[in-house]
């Protein structure tokens, strides 16, 4: 303290200030404020890194799932266009190709007495197998209809015009058929 403040009246105030200062410093040292601040900062950084790691996993996984879903939709769509029963058949064939289920099916066919094995399979899979079997039987019963006359390749307007006006297909056929009928 400065000498000018060594006033007897100021002395108690200065002492109080010193005591408060020392108490504050003691608290500060005891609680180790600096280390706690650094520790908190470190925790915060680690948290960010953890979240970043989570994103790194989450984004590609979600993208992969979307791709798989899109692929499945495309396959189902094509299967539906090309063959209305194709999706069901694919499902049945996938079920039949599963090693456990194929073995179970063969056992059931060859040894009908082994019911205890079947009982060990979860009910949901047994239901699925039964449903697939019924659908397969239905499909086998329903013979696919013969190819309809309207199942012709699609022709664009340009292609049609080329056949009709450039090749003059109608005129050629009409003239040819008329002449043949006259000959007869």
């Amino acid at each position: 303290m400065n000498d000018e403040h060594r006033d007897p009246e100021f002395e108690p105030i200065a002492r109080l200030i010193r005591e408060e200062e020392e108490a504050a410093l003691a608290v500060f040292r005891r609680r180790d404020f600096g280390r706690r601040v650094m520790a908190r900062l470190e925790e915060s950084k680690q948290g960010k890194r953890g979240r970043f790691r989570l994103w790194k996993i989450l984004v590609p996984t979600t993208a992969a799932l979307f791709l798989i879903a899109a692929g499945a939709v495309l396959l189902l769509h094509r299967a539906r266009i090309s063959d209305s029963g194709g999706a069901t058949r694919s499902f049945i064939s996938v079920l039949q190709d599963l090693p456990g289920l194929a073995e179970l099916a063969s056992r059931r066919d060859s040894a009908p007495g082994r019911e205890e094995d079947i009982q060990n399979i979860p009910q949901s899979i047994r239901d699925g197998l039964a449903m697939a079997g019924r659908q397969k039987a239905n499909e086998e019963e329903n013979v696919p209809p013969p190819k309809r006359a309207l199942d012709v390749p699609r022709l664009s307007l340009e292609k049609k015009m080329a056949v009709l006006f450039k090749d003059r297909a109608i005129e050629r056929v009409l003239v040819s058929v008329r002449e043949k009928s006259k000959e007869v």
């Binding site: 984004v59 939709v73 012709v152 022709l155 307007l157 056949v163 297909a169 005129e171 040819s176």
Partner: protein, 176 residues
């Protein structure tokens, strides 16, 4: 990395949207109509390439007529398309129908000239003047025109119906 991930997600979303929007081609209301036109054109293309007989053409026309009737009964084509398509088949058959005794000549000529006038605007005088293969050529040209007219009719059917619906709504809405 995160940007790449978001980019992939956006791409996948666009692809999925495209797949969802992808349909089987034309609307069911016009699909059978297009198929009938394709069948006619394809049949004539085949007959022109491989050669044909009256019996072959008769069978093909019969198949087309049966498919058109089935499509009309199933509501897959409308009456406008059905009647115009049936007229194409009828005119085609009239051209090649043998008529040794010439008994049907007035009927056939009347039908063919009416068809020509309705489709290409050519009058009966031009038809009689042309005669022979040239007259057949005029009918064939009119048949081809009518096929294209029907194709364009199907192409614009949705738009016509939408516009008519809009007009009907305007008419039915009271003026304020």
């Amino acid at each position: 990395m995160m940007r790449k991930g978001i980019g992939i997600l956006a791409l996948v979303c666009v692809l999925a949207g495209g797949l969802a929007a992808m349909d089987d081609g034309p609307a069911p209301a016009t699909k059978a109509g297009y198929a009938l036109l394709n069948l006619y054109v394809k049949s004539f293309q085949e007959m022109a390439t491989r050669g044909s007989t009256g019996l072959d053409m008769e069978n093909r026309l019969r198949t087309m007529a049966a498919e058109a009737k089935r499509a009309l009964d199933a509501g897959e084509i409308n009456l406008v398309f059905s009647s115009r398509y049936a007229r194409i088949l009828a005119v085609t058959k009239l051209v090649v129908t043998p008529d040794e005794s010439k008994i049907l000549v007035p009927v056939i000529d009347r039908e063919l000239t009416e068809f020509l006038w309705a489709v290409t605007g050519e009058d009966a005088a031009a038809w009689y003047k042309a005669g022979g293969p040239s007259a057949i050529g005029m009918v064939a040209n009119a048949l081809a025109e009518e096929i294209i007219n029907l194709q364009i009719y199907l192409d614009t059917l949705d738009k016509r119906e939408a516009i008519r619906k809009k007009l009907d709504e305007r008419i039915s809405t009271p003026v304020k």
